[in-house]
């Protein structure tokens, strides 16, 4: 029976959430297309991971090799491309993560296997793969079809699907030999590095004021910081503010920064790209101020204000001050 491959992503001993999210979708697709769901697991000493994954897939294909201990796109590409050639899966699903974007495009090019990246949904219709993606920073959705082929590759956006727990599938664990005969020398993993911790832990704050692209100059930050202080909170931000060096990167909320869940999150001039939303959508109360009525942030906020943030900050600070007495 033809298979659907889901490549397990793991790092520093942990299977990453995206793996289970892809398995959720993979199970659904396998049922609809009458194929079998196979999880692929590459690494060193990953027996425990294999056991875990066997609860979520019909089969777990394990390739153990010391050269696969840490992620290396070139090593992964060799192993995965061999398995795709041998098994000819209908679909290979890879996370649209830092690891996934380092691997999937070159893998697809080497196999000339049609690739769609950063998918938020996919379905097979009349033997054609249709995917849903977001473009223009999440402001527009696109339905796109892939060129007909025997085998497709997709990368899946994080949190696009729930990581459902289903009836244990008691999948079979199968070991496959590693095709890596020698050390990969063109590209070598050296180490993981964590940026030095800063003075503020935004994940511990009850009140966060998040700032984004709506802030045009560093000099505009102090008045917003005062509002944060008045509310007993701290400043957080989306990516552009860190890119410009206006706040340290431990203040960044989102997939490449911190995940926060404060009692109050006020988003000022943040459009709400999915990477940011991923890090703050579970806040208890979200208030967003943005000039663009169609900004995606209003899709996660409880209260929205379509206005220039600088018109709202001063009176809000005054009102809060007044209420505090």
């Amino acid at each position: 029976m033809q298979e659907i491959f889901v490549l397990a992503e793991h790092r520093q001993g942990q299977i990453r959430d995206i793996t289970f999210e892809m398995l959720t979708k993979g199970r659904e697709l396998a049922e609809k297309t009458n194929t079998e769901l196979t999880a692929l697991l590459f690494g060193k000493d990953v027996k425990e991971h294999a056991k875990t994954l066997s609860q979520y897939a019909k089969k777990v294909l394990v390739v153990e090799d010391a050269k696969l201990e840490n992620f290396n796109s070139e090593a992964y590409q060799k192993v995965l491309s061999n398995l795709i050639k041998e098994h000819k899966p209908l679909l290979t699903s890879i996370g649209h993560t830092s690891f996934g974007v380092d691997l999937a495009p070159s893998l697809a090019a080497s196999l000339d296997s049609p690739l769609a990246t950063d998918c938020i949904d996919l379905k097979f219709e009349n033997e054609t793969l249709t995917v849903t993606r977001q473009i223009y920073g999440g402001k527009v959705n696109v339905n796109a079809t892939l060129r007909k082929a025997e085998s497709y590759i997709v990368t899946i956006r994080q949190a696009a699907f729930p990581a459902e727990k289903k009836i244990p599938m008691n999948g079979e664990i199968v070991e496959a030999p590693s095709p890596l005969s020698e050390e990969i020398t063109e590209k070598r993993f050296i180490e993981y590095v964590l940026p030095p911790p800063g003075g503020v832990d935004i994940t511990a704050a009850d009140v966060l004021i998040g700032i984004g692209r709506g802030i045009k100059d560093e000099s505009e930050i102090p008045p917003v910081e005062e509002l944060a202080k008045t509310l007993g909170g701290v400043l957080a931000c989306s990516r552009p503010i860190v890119d410009k060096g206006w706040l340290p990167n431990d203040r960044q909320v989102g997939s490449s920064g911190k995940t926060v869940k404060p009692k109050l999150y006020i988003a000022l001039g943040i459009s709400g790209a999915f990477q940011h939303v991923l890090g703050m959508k579970n806040s208890d109360l979200i208030i967003a101020v943005n000039k663009d009525r169609n900004a995606p942030i209003f899709g996660v906020a409880d209260y929205g204000i379509v206005e220039d943030l600088f018109k709202i900050v001063p009176p809000l600070k005054a009102k809060v001050y007044e209420l505090r007495g």
């Binding site: 290396n72 796109s73 070139e74 649209h96 830092s98 495009p105 070159s106 090019a109 049609p114 690739l115 769609a116 990246t117 950063d118 473009i135 223009y136 920073g137 527009v140 959705n141 696109v142 339905n143 796109a144 079809t145 060129r147 020398t185 063109e186 590209k187 070598r188 993993f189 050296i190 993981y192 590095v193 964590l194 940026p195 509310l231 890119d243 410009k244 060096g245 960044q252 997939s255 490449s256 920064g257 009692k263 109360l285 979200i286 208030i287 663009d292 209003f298 899709g299 996660v300 906020a301 409880d302 929205g304 204000i305 206005e307 018109k311 709202i312 009176p315 809000l316 009102k319 209420l323």
Partner: protein, 262 residues
Amino acid sequence: MDIIVCVKHVPETAEADLKINPAGNAIKKSDLVFDINEWDDYALEEAVQIKEKLGGTVTVITVGSEDADSTLRKCLARGADNAIRLTDQKFEGSDSYAIAKILHKVIKNMSFNIILTGALAGDDGYAATGPILAELLGISHATMVKKIELSSDVAKVNRELEGGLEEVVELKLPAVLTIQTGINEPRYVSIMGIRKAMQKETKVLGLAEVGLNENEVGEAGSWIKIEKMYVPPVEKQAEFLQGTPEEIAAKIAETLKARGLV
């Protein structure tokens, strides 16, 4: 170091109000301002900084219509030495695979030590052109790069992972590096500087000169074809607060008080 930087001329949409055309296959672009893709902007700056430190040349290359010349001029003004624009009506509808094939045909005949490009483009967001180009050229790549240290034949780079974590990877040169925003501070360039750069020449090549046939580019040569564009459905919509800024501020303050947040 001879460096090639692949750039894209894209509409600025982060703060724009986008409208989809009636056919549902494109956004209305007439009201939008176009500029260099934000990620490519950082890639160009990184290339110029490497050149300033180690010597060599910077060549910018793009696939696009005449409009893209303004992006190329900006790059020349910022310190690039040469500019190449690959253009043909047949390139329309190309996905990242077709674009990478076009770039590959030209770049494979050039001499270079490193290719830099943005980790993704702000319009279609495929995040795939750079590593596909590397595969076609048969060289290594690293994506989402936040730091580069170069020696004569090795690049030591930091790749951005999730949650603030980075990994350090070593690559043999030549290689393709895709650049993440925030790696540097792109320099300001004056209008005068851009005018001066207009004297530098841009090389323009079409389909035949690139050496591809029409089935290898555009929609025919792509993996993916756009069928329909639409506004993302909202699962939830915020309750919009109306009034003067003072009235709105009062409403927010009341809400915060009711929830015990003030």
